[in-house]
């Protein structure tokens, strides 16, 4: 059959990349305006972000590399590192599971009080971390609601690891849910409906369609959640009790060392947290670079 060119079989044309600024002279500014604005932004960045970061490492290495490692491998410091890792290893997976469930419920279903749930998810962002810690003191403290029952059963929450985990989980809860909700809202439910119409059951839809669609957003959320979980100070400080070697997390350990005028040790431990921040930033940029389109719906950090 002699049929005309089938346009549906053609590949979409590749458009050349054209930087907006060269094409559109209307939106460019005079050279001196551009230079001075860029310079102002850079100086601000240097002064407020880069300088303190460098200062941390300079202070940490002031007494030499030997003293730096000594401060890190010291017993109490190692205990603090172990505790911080343990806490985030519990808090982050908890928030991973509940964050996905919350985002899934909010975006793929409609029910009453949905708006209330969204507001509640944001609660930890809006209250001061100290208040978040105090909530647990009020519940589990000696004079709290559950305090007497707890001490009867010899189960310690406050001034022990469970309290720190609870406070950290509370403070970091919004990170994953907040990352996923706009992404899943933008994706809609067409994919899920398509999978259902092809015979998949709910479980298969979740594992084969929903989860792969959000995987990069989820990883991004986990990174941010983890960074905050390891760095949380306020809420943890209230519930921890600052028992050296037992309930001191890394940020608390830094504070104690600093208060004891042990500056180089304090900065040595702090430098570990700073390196965690740099690593998170690096991974985050990598994700944005590789999977920017999929994350675009949530790009606001």
């Amino acid at each position: 059959m002699n049929r005309p060119v089938d346009h549906t079989l053609q590949d979409p044309p590749k458009l050349p990349f054209e930087p907006l600024i060269q094409k559109n002279a209307v939106i460019t500014e005079a050279r001196w305006v551009r230079v001075s604005l860029t310079a102002a932004a850079l100086i601000f960045l240097l002064g407020f972000l880069l300088m303190p970061l460098i200062a941390v490492f300079v202070e940490a290495l002031r007494n030499g590399i030997g003293a730096y490692f000594e401060a890190i491998v010291e017993d109490d410091a190692m205990a603090a590192i172990r505790l911080t890792l343990t806490v985030s290893l519990i808090a982050v997976p908890l928030n991973l599971v509940f964050g996905v469930i919350a985002a899934w419920a909010i975006t793929k279903h409609s029910f009453r009080f949905k708006q209330l749930l969204i507001t509640l998810i944001d609660l930890p962002f809006s209250v001061s971390p100290v208040v978040s810690g105090l909530i647990y003191v009020l519940i589990f403290g000696a004079q709290g609601w559950a305090g007497p029952w707890m001490s009867e059963h010899e189960f310690k929450v406050l001034f022990a690891v469970p309290g720190i985990v609870l406070a950290t989980t509370f403070v970091t809860f919004p990170f994953i849910a907040r990352e996923l909700i706009p992404l899943m809202q933008a994706q809609g439910t067409d994919d899920e409906q398509a999978a259902l119409s092809l015979g998949a059951n709910g479980w298969q839809v979740f594992w084969r369609v929903t989860l792969p669609n959000i995987r990069w957003g989820l990883l991004y959320g986990v990174l941010l959640c983890n960074a905050r979980a390891m760095g949380e100070f306020g809420a943890v400080s209230v519930v921890s009790g600052h028992i050296r070697g037992l309930t001191n997390t890394m940020p608390l350990h830094v504070e104690i060392l600093y208060n004891e005028y042990n500056f180089s040790a304090a900065f040595a431990v702090a430098s570990l947290l700073a390196m965690l921040a740099l690593l998170t930033l690096g991974l985050k940029s990598l994700l944005e670079w590789r999977h920017g389109n999929e994350l675009a719906a949530t790009r606001r950090h």
Binding site: D6, T8, L9, D190, A194, S197, G199
Partner: protein
Amino acid sequence: MDIQIRNIHKGFGSFPALAGVDLDIASGELIALLGPSGSGKTTLLRTIAGLEFPDTGQILFGGEDTVALPVQQRRVGFVFQHYALFRHMTILENVAFGLRVRPRHERPSDKDIKRKAAELLDLVQLGGLEARYPTQLSGGQRQRVALARALAIEPRVLLLDEPFGALDAKVRKDLRRWLRELHDKTGYTTIFVTHDQEEALELADRVVVMSRGRIEQVGSTDEVYENPATPFVFDFLGNTNILPGEVRDHHIYVNGGPQPIADTAGHEPGPIDIYVRPIDLRIADAGVPSFDVDVLSTQRTGPVVRCEARAVTSGAVIEIELPHLHHDVPALKAGARVPLRLSNFSVFARGKPISRQALPDVVANAPAEYRERARAG
């Protein structure tokens, strides 16, 4: 598989999306659901698929009532307007999805699944692109993948929601012809939703015209076009002039026309509206029943000459369309008074005029939330 739809009602809140729909579809038919946004056509399609549940009514697939069956068990091939391809899978895996999610004892072997998926991709003329991802395809190609994916489960009925809505005009035309060929080759009972009357009339065996949750008329292209059952159907299927007229002594008169233009076919005496398309108006020869109009303006638009005129007695402004080489064209000069005859028309008892809101206001590329709103009212 033949399908019977019996008295389906479905409301979203207080808005009746479907207000009593009955429809019989024969096995192997290609049916178009045509209507403006908010007419309930997409809701009806989703109800047949099991993506919406009716408040009352029955949907029978080959005699078996499926209303209680969830979408997974209905075995319907549903093609979404925006394709809903799984973006993290190659197109081969997209097509294979429906086979891979089957329970283990019904699932073909991995080799058979791949072979079947590759065959289907050949059928939709995408052989060789198996390893691509959906984002690497053009819109028309994605549409074909979505179709192959729906065919993989050997559906009892194929349902397409505005299948060409998101494509440009040229691709749309090619795909339309291609879909017709595919339907003739495979013989699946197919129902598709469209707001484009040309698409529906060209592609479908029968057209179901819907408005406000009800079926206005079901029929072949000729039937709905030549004998529209309601003013809505007439108006929705093309440009319309409405001339006031009258039924008197078993004859139909255009207001101001001295002779009757036709005998009645059972219309009550009284005022009527005569519906006539711009292309069905011609200059009358002497002695033929006619009515006079004053030509207001004439405009050539490509191959068609479009002329605006005012009826002398009733003052109704009407539109006339002629091929630009037609011998009537020279007479239609602005300011001229010419007699017109109706070569084809419909008569409806004078009711309320059709409100303009009921007419098509759908944008071809309407975003999903717009359609949601249209569905919800």
